[in-house]
Symmetry: C2
Subunit: 416 residues, 2 copies
């Protein structure tokens, strides 16, 4: 089987009648995809198993005492998502291990991993966080999907244990991941391959302005405490603040807006916004997060509104590690490919694992920058080129002295 044949087979699992692919974590389609993955690994002569959380692992044993090289990504999708996000990275691992096994190559052990629930049906990166041992066990028992399904119930029903399932990371030398870019940079640069410099950190917060509901016809303009007018003023100033940071790769988005009472002839008395910022500079992220709070306070005071600001979530940036990144750079050069170097605005399993072991990532272009939708697309020739680069880098890393790999790039791992 080649990558193209495997990809064609995987694309038959979880086809959504309403369009795209729906393989939400621990759903029947997701379970079928993981079973298929392990079965394909066994066919290719690899050891196949699940860990206690349900992450699927293929392993090619190697020289005794050498730390393993991991290749990972995910098989779950968002609802009506695309065929490429996550899937191609898992198939790349299968392909690399199959080639290594078939070719009788020697070196360190190698694993291909499909992490569960990268898309966060039950919370961010629940599979790789379980393998990293980063979960608060009590919080796991409360985790729920938007449809009310509990993580504990879904994991147990699939035959696994809803708890941390930490591995011995001292026996791991490096982590590599191939993923679609999910943005327009590579396509616009006309480049087939990207090498990730760092995975952006993020700060998420909820900002609520509370004013007073009044009759839209009777309240004079200069006496209103209009929560949406305040929210709009804040949103404009927030975007100006983010755009003014031209030096970095800072991104800021207000994706969630809820207005109450949301009636045509009533001045809104409450607007709640969900806001996030991302960037690869930890200092800049923290500084901007602080300035956002000051800005919201100033606007609330000027508009006669009350402010409730909550910091919901904070993840530090994870720089990619020199060792595996250089292996990818060298492999690309050997194959005559000139990759672009870019940060990843989206987080990935590499952003979790990369806090513990040296990690690096390859990106392939996303047509039109689209992802999380049925239109998601990458040329298969570009994916095959990336797999060749990945294969070559793994061969080098398998033979490298473990001590030659750099320290993990992430800051101190911290439980959520």
């Amino acid at each position: 089987m080649t990558f193209r044949e495997d990809f064609a087979a995987l694309r038959r699992i979880g086809v959504d009648p309403e369009g795209g692919w729906s393989r939400p974590a621990f759903s029947p389609a997701d379970i079928e995809a993981h079973e298929w993955f392990l079965a394909r690994g066994r066919e290719a002569g690899l050891a196949a198993r699940y860990d206690a959380f349900g992450n699927a692992i293929l392993r090619l044993e190697g020289e005794t005492g050498r730390p393993a090289i991991l290749i990972g990504s995910h098989l779950d999708t968002v609802t009506r998502g695309g065929a490429y996000d996550g899937a191609i990275g898992v198939l790349a691992g299968l392909e690399v291990l199959s080639r290594l096994h078939a070719g009788g190559h020697r070196g360190a052990p190698v694993e291909a991993i499909a992490f569960r629930d990268e898309e966060g049906r039950f919370g961010p990166f629940t599979g790789s966080r379980a393998m990293a041992g980063l979960h608060d066990a009590e919080a796991l028992t409360r985790a729920k999907a938007a449809d009310g399904t509990t993580l504990a119930g879904a994991v147990a029903a699939a035959g696994f244990t809803p708890d941390n399932a930490p591995r011995d990371w001292s026996r791991v030398g490096a982590y590599l991941e191939l993923h679609i870019e999910q943005g327009p940079v590579l396509e616009q640069a006309g480049v087939d391959l990207g090498i990730v410099t760092a995975i952006a950190g993020q700060e998420r917060m909820s900002i609520r302005f509370v004013g007073q509901a009044d009759h839209a016809g009777t309240a004079p303009m200069d006496q209103r405490r209009d929560a949406f007018a305040g929210a709009a003023r804040f949103a404009e100033a927030f975007r100006r603040m983010i755009r003014a940071e031209k030096g970095g790769d800072l991104r800021g988005t207000i994706g969630v807006v809820k207005v109450k009472p949301n009636l045509g002839n009533v001045i809104p008395d409450e607007v709640t916004m969900g806001l996030e910022i991302r960037g690869t500079s930890a200092g800049l992220l923290q500084g901007v997060a602080t300035r956002i709070g000051v800005l919201a306070e100033e606007i609330a005071a000027a508009e006669g509104l009350q402010l409730r600001l909550r910091r919901l979530y904070s993840d530090a940036p994870v720089p990619m590690a020199d060792g595996p990144r250089t292996a990818l750079e060298d492999a690309a050069a050997d194959l005559g490919v000139a990759p672009a170097r870019l940060p990843s605005g989206a987080n990935h399993d590499a952003g979790i694992v990369g806090r513990i072991v040296p990690a690096a990532m390859l990106f392939v272009p996303s047509r039109g920058g689209r992802s999380h939708c049925p239109e998601e697309y990458t040329d298969e020739s570009q994916i095959e080129l990336a797999i060749d680069v990945l294969f070559k880098a793994v061969c080098v890393l398998r033979r490298a002295d473990g001590a030659g790999l750099a320290e993990p790039g992430g800051l101190q791992a911290r439980p959520r």
Copy 2:
């Protein structure tokens, strides 16, 4: 019975266990209130009837051939609304007719009317519009409440006909209405009584910006087509435009905002806003409505968004008529009251009837400007003073030559 006793009795109907009063049009509580009103009229010796739509009418006959003086308002409330909005105007009519009847006063016939559905459960002012003959009969058959109840079903179940029920308006000399201000102007001015100069017209529109949903982490800031960023920019500019019109009494509100997909890590691709402007100058309203469209187009172009603007509803301002307004002014002066003169930003049944016959309105203060909530409050002594002014004005109008009344203040009546 006095006004205070009647008000205490009416306040027992439709008390909502969750707070305030809920007498939605044609609900059991609303039907009970109208039955109570007609029964009280009969007790007071007045002729009591419903028209074909269910508007409740008390009538004191007078000199043959003289056109009638109408006193109207409404008994329905919004959900968990206040006790005063509408109710005190209907009770004022009952009180004035009772006094006239008890005192044996002579003059033109007088009616006290409780219009159905002023609060628009089934559409704006369905009762007074039915009496004015302004409904599109076909549209009435489709009218529905937010809870799915059809107007046709609710009206028929109450024993009435869901159709226009026009009266012979040539037999009407003037219309008067007493209402709470629903705004803060009278209270802040320290005045017990307001005389309305005009009822504001309004323009309602729906503005939709459509952009592109992208991953909040991967889409560069300068390549986004963020529908909420465009909407916020528009909302800021819209408020500046309204506030810049300092000469008039223009008000502008964005009360409804719907964001899609409304997810934390996705750039919004669609924002729909419900916007309204109100003012007493028809020319200014139309001019500003046009400029709003131009502004939305400019911002859509600058932000790379598509625009869909729909004009939903248009009501011209209704100036109050000289004849009945002067009668109210003179009555107030006779009683030693110095009323404020102010426009009504909210529409009222007087804004419907006033397009056909000469109409005028009295306002009493709303504490804190609040209405449509359980906290709605006006001192009963202020209401009684207003009833005295209304009584005196009606006495004068009953004796006036019908030809002495001014033309109706509204522009050409137009069906919706």
